[in-house]
């Protein structure tokens, strides 16, 4: 077959990037830093993949123009294949895609960041962003929940976060009786309920398993948060990330174009989808 070079930008083509750093976070997740130099918002995602295996959407969990950092959990074929890479290897990435957190419009507020399990990854983007624009935001409160102490992500950063922000880590079950980073046993929702926090100039960012998000929203509402003070990040199966393949549709919204970050009032009615 005759080959020709593409002259127009072909939106399906990924580009190769070098892995600058690769390390394991937990037994089933790892963090990759790739030399992709792009402008992006926290909460946006990229399609990461390997030729011959496939692609999957992963949130960018850093805030830098020099590189992107991705936290990946091994759940499917592509992520398992990615887990076998090493520093210096090549990954194929296209993006960034989607709407991230509209941080520019939230200046002057305090940020309440509530994450569960691997849902903490996209939220780390906000933390890094807030750190880079520290003067624009008031207090940062981090409330991070994990299944067990072994599942705690971003242990490299946690100490620093603990020193700088109001950090609280919970674990559903403390299997070893060892508490690190001041983690408490219990659910994120319990910790949130007992927390003395007001909705005054406070924006909440929630990401985690669907059940956890549901309960967190409920208790945020109890604390007086309005729908437009809550941002959620959603997850769906997707192939194109261009708003075409339709797999990620939630009612009329495309997760890949209109999301993955939604303000709660935008998707309130879509909860059951």
């Amino acid at each position: 077959m005759a080959k020709q070079k593409t002259t127009v930008e072909n939106p399906y083509l990924p580009k190769p990037y070098k892995i600058l750093e690769f390390y394991r976070e937990t037994s089933d997740s790892f963090t990759v830093k790739a030399d992709m130099e792009i402008d992006h918002d926290p909460g946006q995602f990229v399609q990461v993949g390997l030729l011959g295996i496939g692609e999957c959407p992963i949130s960018i969990c850093s805030d830098s123009r020099e590189y992107i950092q991705l936290n990946i959990r091994e759940v499917g074929n592509v992520t398992i294949a990615l887990s076998k890479l090493e520093q210096g290897d090549t990954v194929f990435i296209r993006g960034p895609y989607g709407k991230g957190y509209p941080m520019r419009y939230l200046k002057g507020n305090s940020l309440l960041i509530i994450g569960g399990g691997c849902g903490v990854a996209p939220l780390k983007g906000i933390i890094d962003y807030a750190e880079n624009h520290r003067r624009d935001y008031k207090d940062l409160t981090l409330l991070l929940g994990y299944r067990s102490p072994d599942d705690i992500l971003f242990q490299r950063e946690l100490l620093e976060w603990k020193n700088r922000y109001n950090l609280q880590v919970t674990v559903d079950q403390n299997t070893h009786g060892k508490f690190c980073y001041g983690a408490k046993e219990g659910f994120v929702t319990d910790a949130l309920e007992s927390m003395d926090i007001s909705n005054n100039n406070q924006i909440a960012f929630v990401c985690g398993p669907p059940v956890m998000m549901k309960f967190v929203i409920r208790s945020l509402k109890d604390k007086g948060f309005n729908d437009d003070q809550i941002f959620l990040s959603t997850e769906r199966l997707m192939y194109c990330a261009l708003g075409v393949c339709c797999h990620c549709m939630i009612k009329g919204k495309f997760t890949c174009v209109d999301g993955p970050v939604f303000r709660y009032d935008e998707i309130k009615d879509l909860e059951n989808e």
């Binding site: 011959g52 295996i53 074929n77 398992i80 294949a81 076998k84």
Partner: protein
């Protein structure tokens, strides 16, 4: 890939027609390349020297129909990290398992009375006895699907198993719907991945790849009844290849009698003249 050690693979058959093992060999153009990907430790059907210890995976054809089969199955399971059931017999029980649905006196005199040494046990697919890691169904299985599995395994990726009904590929291939022609096609409740090869050739689907998880069995029965097939025929047809995977069949047939479903069938003739 090649820097690592090749995967040790065994291909075996227990009670069956050897057609599934033939399907592997039918990849004439690629069979030699295959040997550069894996270390084919055993394939007694075509190889003289075989070792039967320590496999990364074993592809096993046929079903358990006598004591020796069961011994082989258990041994291979023990010696292999993964067990792959190849073909309809191995996955669903196929035609040999039809014995469950007929009276003993119908078949006993034909063989088992004369050959006492057979020591038969009730014919059953692999997963009734041991854990199965991956299924490649079909009678015969799709030769490309076998290749795809082997290629995937080399890269540490198991291809996502087919879950969609045969109709998806059938309609894509531009076939007329055989149900509209009044034929008892089981495509809508049968797992695809075969490229609808039977329907492409004008033969209705008999369900050799087993039922889909999402099948609407009740409706399928109703459709066949509408086309004038009696319950005995429907039951026989559905049990030919996957009887053991449809334990609910009788119950659904009974239950669906009282239910009214508004379907429309224009008769065997299309409205085109």
């Amino acid at each position: 890939m090649s820097k690592n050690k090749k995967l040790k693979v065994g291909v075996y058959g227990i009670t069956g027609c050897a057609g599934c093992q033939l399907s592997i060999i039918f990849n004439e153009e690629e069979i030699l390349d295959l040997l550069s990907l894996i270390d084919l430790k055993a394939f007694p059907f075509i190889k003289e020297l075989n070792t039967d210890e320590e496999f990364d995976y074993v592809i096993l054809e046929g079903l358990v129909a006598n004591k020796l089969d069961l011994e082989i199955l258990r041994k291979l399971r023990k010696n292999s990290k993964m067990l792959i059931s190849l073909g309809a017999c191995a996955c669903t029980g196929c035609v040999p398992a039809y014995r469950h649905f007929t009276l003993k006196e119908n078949y006993e005199h034909l063989l088992y009375k004369r050959q006492e040494e057979l020591q038969d046990i009730e014919p059953s697919p692999h997963d009734e006895h041991v854990k199965v890691d991956y299924y490649i169904p079909g009678c015969p299985p799709d030769k490309k699907e076998i290749l795809r599995f082997i290629k995937g395994s080399v890269r540490g990726v198991l291809p996502r198993p087919h879950q969609n009904p045969v109709c998806i590929e059938c309609r894509r291939n531009g076939n007329a719907c055989l149900l509209d022609e009044g034929k008892p096609c089981l495509g809508p409740i049968t797992t695809g991945g075969c490229n609808a090869v039977c329907i492409n050739g004008g033969l209705e689907c008999w369900g050799c790849r087993g039922p889909t998880k999402d099948m609407n069995l009740e409706l399928m029965i109703k459709i066949l009844r509408d086309r004038g097939f009696d319950d005995r025929f429907i039951q026989d047809r559905m049990r030919t290849f996957a009887g053991l995977k449809l334990p609910m069949l009788e119950r659904v047939m009974q239950g669906s009698k009282s239910k009214v479903l508004q379907t429309r069938f224009d008769g065997e003739k299309k409205f085109y003249e």
